[in-house]
């Protein structure tokens, strides 16, 4: 078997193991959360019997490890359980499957993350490469200063500034990004413009700076000097000789930022009233809707693990030492 394949399989197995450990941690963390769903729903006036009956109905009377096994067993089969919300003391059960609850929200989040990535990643790479090419120039300094200031501002502030200028003073884009499953693609794109722009401004700096640093780091290498002494143009030296050796750190930062786009954008979602998974999780925490919180946390963990795995694999594949062993 080619060594790269075995390394990839190894990493994949390692990723699954990590996910398993994370599931244990998530479960334990939620166990330790103060407060109780039944009491939160039934209120202080509830009698002990009703509380006990309700707990039994939800399965909360079982010991923790049994509930954990049931949960993980379900997850493995794609069943994340049933949401607690919608149940009430009235006894009418309007609760929904966690999957049905999360799926549309996750789709929205992935859509926003997707369009942001499509804008931000090429932009960051282009800025980073050109800044490295003309390092020390006015352009380089301008790019650095701009990206640094956008990352230094809190994201909600960036969002409000954009709303002020592009939503209010010059109403080019809508300030609210309320989309639903029925919204057609172009309409959806139009409504997501401001949140996507906000997120782009937030993540470009990281990736651009790493691209620039990774390339400049290599410019002192003997093989770069050799390339220059072969009479190659500066562009060729950077694109053909420096960049192929700089992928590993760049890809890692990209993966990190993409993960952030999926798991960390709740503030932006709130500002633009965007129905993403971040808001869903925050709501679920306040109502102590444990199955939803667990499912969200697990999805977030899986996102991180998957993206980092992908970054690792790309680093390996771009390393000729691993790709072409002796």
């Amino acid at each position: 078997m080619h060594p790269v394949v075995s390394i990839v399989l190894q990493r994949l197995a390692l990723g699954l193991m990590t996910l398993f450990f994370v599931s244990v941690i998530i479960f334990m963390a939620i166990e330790m959360l103060p407060g109780d769903f039944t009491q939160a729903v039934l209120g202080q006036a509830a009698t002990e019997e009703t509380v006990a009956a309700f707990r039994r109905e939800l399965g909360l009377d079982q010991p923790a490890y049994i509930r954990y096994v049931q949960w993980v067993g379900g997850v493995v089969q794609g069943d994340f359980g049933t949401s607690f919300s919608g149940r009430a003391s009235s006894g009418v059960d309007r609760s929904r499957e966690v999957v049905d609850l999360i799926a549309p929200r996750l789709a929205n989040t992935l859509f926003l993350a997707g369009i942001t990535a499509v804008i931000a990643v090429p932009l960051a790479l282009a800025l980073g490469i050109t800044a490295a090419l003309w390092r020390g120039s006015l352009y380089d300094r301008a790019v650095n200063a701009t990206t640094l200031s956008t990352i230094s501002m809190p994201e909600f502030f960036v969002a409000y500034v954009l709303i002020l200028f592009l939503g209010s003073l010059y109403p080019v884009f809508p300030s609210l990004a309320n989309v639903s499953a029925e919204t057609p693609f172009w309409e959806r794109l139009y409504r997501c413009a401001l949140p996507a722009l906000t997120l782009t401004l937030v993540i470009v700096a990281h990736m651009m700076r790493m691209t620039r640093a990774a390339i400049i780091n290599l410019l002192a290498s003997p093989y770069i000097e050799m390339a220059r002494l072969k009479g190659l143009s500066a562009t060729r030296v950077i694109l053909f000789h420096a960049l192929p050796n700089a992928w590993a750190p760049i890809v890692n930062v990209i993966a990190f930022n993409l993960a952030y786009l999926i798991v960390g954008v709740v503030v932006v979602e709130v500002v633009f009233v965007y129905p993403g998974i971040g808001q869903l999780m925050v709501d679920a925490v306040t109502t102590r809707d444990i199955p939803v919180v667990q499912a969200c946390a697990l999805i977030f963990a899986a996102t991180y693990i998957l993206l980092n795995l992908l970054a690792d694999i790309i680093s390996i594949v771009t390393n000729p030492r691993l790709l072409h062993p002796r």
Binding site: P222, K230, G231, P244, N245, R326
Partner: protein, 556 residues
Amino acid sequence: MSTEGNRAELLLAMRGVRIDGFADERWHEIIKGVDLTLHKGEVMGLIGESGAGKSTLGLAAMGFARPGCRISGGEIVFDGIDLMRASERQKQRLRGSRIAYVAQSAAAAFNPAHTLLDQTLEATVRHGLRSREEAERDARALYAAMDLPDPDTIGDRFPHQVSGGQLQRAMTAMAMASRPDLIIFDEPTTALDVTTQVNVLAAIRKAVKEFDTAAIYITHDLAVVAQMADRIKVLRYGEEVEEAPTGEMLSNPRHPYTRSLWAVRSIRKPGETSADRVLEIDRVTAAYGTVDVLHNISIGLPRGKTVALVGESGSGKSTAARVVTGLLPPRRGEVRFDGVALPADLKGRTKEQKRRIQMIYQMADTAMNPRQTVREIIGRPIAFYHGLRGREVERRVERLLEQIELDGSFADRLPGELSGGQKQRICIARALAAEPEVIICDEVTSALDQIVQEGILKLLMRLQKDHGLSYIFITHDIATVEAIADEVVVMLQGRVVEQGLKEEIFAPPHPEYTELLLSSVPEMEAGWLERAIARGEGGRVLDRLAEGDRERPSPR
């Protein structure tokens, strides 16, 4: 070879070249008005110590200054083109087409991300000299001319899949690809083992002759330059010392500095032995992970004498040192000190056992904490092993500095404020501070210039006499061995090939490998290379010895 027969037209004229380097917030002149003229097809040898400005001058011949350097004055005219006034674009057109460069470490100068072939033909194709197909065909022909194995397919390999000597030859092929008028060879064999060096030198010589290319050959090894150059120029502190045709320079150097360069190889002490062994390595087998790198070796160190471990990189010399110091517990066998077996692992040894064996490393730079003063560096083992404090330590440090021929003012300096030779002296003082009986010297002079080397070797010999020290001297440099060793141990691939008194080892008859090792060491007289090549190519002997896996990729 001869200049007389070939009074060809002028190719390169450098007059009064001045180059500045930026350091400590200001510009310093590092080349102070050097002239250099080169005719077509001529090979000029440029020698001098490190820091003499050889590489800087060589690169200036391409109109190139490294980042942090600038060409501040003089004239550089290449075949009628004034490189001082030429635009960057004009110079780019020359580089890689009419002037080519061969770097010191091919392993570092080849881009790890691309195949050899892609890099070999890159300049030729980008400059529009040949089509890609033509260039590929030509590259294969050049690989064959450089005696590279599998010339048709070696180009498809990546640099890490090829050995150091092969890479260096591939780089010469790369420089040849555009059939340049001038090639700058910047210490192309310094990073190689002697046995590999012969083949690379032969390949370079052949290429330069065949294509009638002019060359500037930069090196600090006199014997090498004697084989390669028509004329030799000696540089020191960025100034020319003297220049003469090779034969004349070898037989009759005029300047005292040049003569001192020649004289370095003159230290030689007779080898002595003694039956009293202070240290014995007894049938040791050691491994990194599961791979055995030492196979059942036995080496004895006579008290007060020097045993030199010689061999190429990867022969297990340094590993043997790691076993002695306890850094690498052996899998089998033991190390005895004064007849008593030492605990295999460093953790099991007492402070007293550790004190008696000290170590000096090749890179004095990295062996010292850059933020500690010399006083702290030398003072630490004094306090640690002898429990001294305050004024006592102070006095000892001063005494040690005196022993290594440095005055007391050095105690307050940081390593960054010392020269290479001074740094190595501090490392010697640090080892002495423990008052050891055995010192392991791991390539301690390899990174130093000839004259500095001589000083260090003399110091080590004097300290040996004064303190009755025993040395294990690890080196790949045969000249150093001839200078300092009593006994010699020749190692090859983790095995001891031969050991005994220096005079016996160096006198024929030799085992095959020792013969190869000794005959590969360049000698100063002209014509040595031809004879070495004629004697049969070193590579073949090695191949037979190691059944083909000798030239394996070099670890980087």
